[in-house]
Symmetry: C2
Subunit: 477 residues, 2 copies
C-alpha cells in the first residue's frame, strides 16, 4: 500500500479508507493514543491502538521518538482537536527510542539545551516550524526574483580578493598549520598554496554580482557569507546566508522600492503558505511575552506584526533628518543614550536605530544618504560631496535588515576614493572594468537571510533560525 | 517614461508606442543599426538611428559595449530576423566603451580567453545563454522539491567534522600563516582558533542532512561544496554547487525513482522555459560538432538529447551485471581499456562508465549494488554481506551525474563499519544518534549541479558553466 504523509491524511475526507503512514511518536498516552508526526506538518495525526489486542512488549516500545510504521483505517475522530484519526490495524516499530536516553522528551526544553542538540532539536514543534518556515521563505526569495526577471548568480565562496571591506575574513588554505613554505625573503610562499595565492571566505558577493548585473541586467545572489568577527550576540553568526540583488540602471529610489516590494512579497508568501506553522509560532511568542514584564511586551502578535509590515509603507528618512530627530529626542536630551547624538556625521548605533524604528516611527524605516566617510568605498557620492547614496532598512526588534546603495559608476570618482582608502587598483582591476566599459547607474542591496527568518518566526536568537549555527568557539556537527 | 526591457519590447505588438530602453550596444553597423541587448533575453532589439540628423561625435561613441539610453518609437521592422524595431528619437551614451581597449569585440573569442575575462564573458551570447539557463535550472531544482513536500535545509559550510570521507578538504582558520599557537606538547593549539577546534570546508551536507530528514521527512540541500584535489580536468572544480535530497523511509528503489523523476523535471523545465537560449546553444553545439571528425560527432543535437532523456526510462543495471557486460565487451577483449575488467570487485573507471552509457545502452544508466569495499561507510549493507545499496546515475558525455545510496540504518552494523575504517565514534556521535533514536530506512543522493548545467547547455568544460570557476592555481576575481 502506498504510504501517505501525515499532512495528506489530515486533509483527507475519504473516511474508512485503508491507509499506511510512517513517522515518529511524539507522545503515547493511556496506552492507546499515539500522536504521530512525520515532519510534513506541525500537526500530529492521532493513531488509536487497540491495546487490548496488542502485545504488551510492543506497547512498551511505543516511546517518544520511536519510528513506527502504521497500517489502519482513516476514520472521523471522536476526540477534540482533530477531525480524523487512524484506527491501527498493524503497528511495526522501525526504530526504538530508549526513554531513559532520548534527550528530546515531551516537555519544555530550554533553547540553550536544544542548541547543544542541534541534530535533534528539529524534532520539536518549535524548531520544525522554524525550519519549515525558513524553507518556505527561501523559496519565496527565489520565486520573487525569478518572476521579476532576475537571474540567480552563484558568486564565488572562496575569494582571492580581500578588498570588499565588509568585515574580517577567514583564511582558506591547504597548507599544514605552521608548515607553510617560505620564499627567500622569509615570506609565506602562497604561490605554492592550492590556488597559488592567498584566499579567504567571501564576505559578500556584491562586487562579482555587479559584473553580472552589467551584462544580464537584473541579478541576485543567495548564498553563504562569512565574518571572522568575535561577536557573541543574538544577531550575529560567523556563517550566514545572504541575498544580494543588483540591478543595472536602478537608482537609489528604485533600489528602495525593490527592497520594500521584495520584503513584503516574501512575508506575504509565508502568511499565505505557512498558516499552521505561523499559528504555532504566533502562540509560542504570545506565551513568551507573558513571562515578560508588561512594559517590555510587544504590542503586536507575530502574525499581526507580519501583516503590519506587508500592509504599510516603510518610512523613508534621510540620515540628516534622522540626526535631527535623534538630537531632539527625549533619551538624547535626558542622556539615556550610551552614545549621545550631538553632531551630523556620527555613525548610528543600534540604540539609535531602535529608537527611530520602535519608538519614533513604529514601522520599518529606510534611512538614506549617509555621510560618505562612514560608508563603503563603492557607494555613489552625492552632488553635495559629503553624503553617499546609501540606504539601510531598519526593522523593529531586528535592527538592520538590509544595507544597500547606488554604486559609484564614475571611474574617476571611484579610483579617487580607492586611492584615499589605500585600496590597490590591481586588486580590483576587474571591478574597475565595469566602469571602464559601458558603465551605468546601478544599485543593489544585501539582506541577511537569518534576520528575515528571525523576524518572520518571532524567535529571539539568530542561532535558533539556522540548522547548525557557527559562532565563536562553536562549530559542532 | 517607464523603461521597458528588450524582452518585453520584442514580445510587444503595440506599434507606434513611445518606448524607453537601456542596454549595451552589441554591434553598430552602417552608422545606423544598433543591436541593443540588456541581458533580459539573448535576442537584441534593433534600434535605428537617424544618422543624418545625429551629431557625428555622438555616432562615433556608439561602440560595442557602450551603455546607452534610447527613447523612440516601436515600429514593425522592415528588416529580416526581427518583427519590431525602435526608431530612435533620443539617444544618450551612459557609459563609453573604447573599441581599442574593450576585450569583448563582436567576433569569436576562444573560451580560454573568455575564462580570463570571466567578469566580462557574460556579455557574450554564449555565456549569457549559459548563465540564464543555469539560473532557470536552479529555480527548477527548488520548485521540484518544494512542490513535492521537501524542505530546503542549509547545512553548514564550515565543518568541524572531517569524517565524511568524500575527498580532500580545505582548512579554514583565523590563525596567521606559520603563527599558530602551540601547546606544551608542541602541537597546534586549535582551542585558540576562531571555532576552538580544527575546521574545514564541507565536502558534503549529507550527514547533517540525514539528521534533518529524520525529523522533517523529506529535505534537500543546495549549496556550495569543496574539494581540495589537484584535478585539472574538464569535469572538476574545487568549489561547486551540490544538490542533496534525503528522504526518510525511502529505500534504494524509491531513491532511484526520485533521482530519475527529478532530473527529468528540471530538464523539462528548461525545455519549456528557456527556448531562445536553448535554440542558441543547440545551434552553437551543432557548429562546434562540425569542426570535429565525423566519428567523434554526437548523434543528437542538444535539444534532441534533452528530449531523449526526458522521454526515456533510465536503464537500471546492477554492478554485477555491468561487470559481466564489460568483461565480455569488445574493448575489453581487444585490450582497449586502460584498466582491463577481469574480476568482480574492481572499481569502475570513467572509460567503463562511458562504454556502458555511450556505446552499450546509449541512454542514462543507473548502476546499483556496488561492492561494499569501494563505497562509503554509511551505505546500507545488503544481505549478501558484500554489496551495498549504492547507486550512481551515469550520463552520456558527463559520466557520474548522481551518486547516492540507501543509508545504513542499523546502529550495530554502522558502528562495526566505522571501527573497520578507523572512523572515531566521538567524531560522529550526533550522526550515530539518528540510528540510536527512532532509526528507519532512509536514502538520498548528491548531484553536482555544474554537471547538470554542463549537460543542459552542451558546453564541454565545467569552468564555462559557473560564473567564477575555482580550480588549482586559480581564484581570480
Amino acid at each position: 500500500m502506498k504510504r501517505s504523509s501525515v499532512k495528506d491524511l489530515l486533509q483527507s475526507d475519504k473516511f474508512l479508507q485503508e491507509v499506511h503512514v510512517k513517522g515518529w511518536v511524539r507522545t503515547f498516552r493511556s496506552n492507546r493514543f499515539i500522536a504521530l508526526n512525520d515532519g510534513s506538518t506541525i500537526n500530529n495525526i492521532q493513531c488509536v491502538v487497540d491495546f487490548e489486542n496488542t502485545d504488551e512488549t510492543l506497547l512498551k516500545r511505543i516511546n517518544t521518538g520511536a519510528a513506527v510504521s502504521i497500517q489502519g483505517t482513516l476514520v472521523e475522530s471522536q476526540g477534540k482537536g482533530q477531525t480524523v484519526e487512524v484506527q491501527v490495524k498493524n503497528l511495526e516499530i522501525l526504530g526504538d527510542s530508549n526513554p531513559d536516553e532520548y534527550p528530546i522528551q515531551p516537555k519544555k526544553h530550554s533553547l540553550e539545551f536544544l542548541r547543544e542538540n542541534a541534530h535533534l532539536r528539529v524534532r520539536t514543534n518549535t524548531f520544525s516550524a522554524v525550519m519549515r518556515l525558513r524553507s518556505a521563505l527561501s523559496f519565496a526569495v527565489h520565486q520573487y526574483f525569478q518572476q521579476n526577471g532576475f537571474y540567480y548568480v552563484n558568486t564565488p565562496i572562496i575569494t582571492g580578493s580581500d578588498a570588499e571591506g565588509a568585515g574580517e575574513m577567514f583564511k582558506v588554505t591547504q597548507f599544514e598549520a605552521n608548515k607553510a613554505p617560505v620564499n627567500e625573503e622569509g615570506e609565506i610562499d602562497y604561490s605554492k598554496d592550492f590556488f597559488g595565492k592567498e584566499t579567504n571566505l567571501t564576505v559578500s558577493g556584491q562586487l562579482e554580482g555587479e559584473t553580472y548585473a552589467m551584462a544580464l541586467g537584473k541579478i541576485y545572489t543567495f548564498g553563504p557569507t562569512f565574518r571572522a568577527e568575535n561577536s557573541n550576540t543574538t544577531r550575529h553568526l560567523a556563517e550566514f546566508w545572504m541575498i544580494e540583488p543588483e540591478v543595472a540602471f536602478n537608482d537609489l529610489d528604485a533600489n528602495m522600492d525593490l527592497s520594500e516590494d521584495f520584503i513584503k512579497y516574501v512575508l506575504q508568501y509565508v502568511l499565505d503558505n505557512c498558516k499552521d506553522d505561523l499559528a504555532f509560532l504566533d502562540n509560542r511568542l504570545a506565551q513568551e511575552e507573558k513571562t515578560k514584564p508588561q512594559a517590555q511586551r510587544s504590542e503586536m502578535g507575530l502574525i499581526e506584526k507580519l501583516r503590519f509590515v506587508v500592509d504599510n509603507n516603510f518610512k523613508r528618512v534621510s540620515y540628516t533628518e534622522a540626526i535631527d530627530i535623534l538630537r531632539n529626542s527625549k533619551p538624547n536630551k535626558k542622556k539615556k543614550f550610551q552614545f549621545p547624538v550631538n553632531e551630523w556625521g556620527v555613525d548610528l548605533q543600534s540604540e539609535h536605530e531602535r529608537y527611530l524604528v520602535e519608538k519614533h516611527f513604529k514601522c520599518p524605516v529606510i534611512l538614506f544618504d549617509y555621510p560618505a566617510n562612514i560608508k563603503a568605498f563603492y557607494m555613489r557620492l552625492n552632488e553635495d560631496g559629503k553624503t553617499v547614496r546609501a540606504m539601510d532598512v531598519l526593522f523593529p526588534g531586528i535592527g538592520e535588515m538590509v544595507g544597500g546603495s547606488e554604486r559609484e559608476e564614475r571611474l574617476d570618482v571611484l579610483k579617487e576614493k580607492m586611492a584615499e582608502l589605500n585600496i590597490p587598483e590591481e586588486e580590483l582591476w576587474w571591478y574597475l572594468d565595469t566602469r571602464k566599459f559601458g558603465t551605468a547607474v546601478h544599485s543593489g542591496f544585501g539582506l541577511g537571510f537569518e534576520r528575515l527568518v528571525l523576524f518572520a518566526t518571532g524567535m529571539s536568537n539568530i542561532r535558533d533560525v539556522i540548522p547548525f549555527p557557527r559562532t565563536p568557539q562553536n562549530a559542532e556537527f
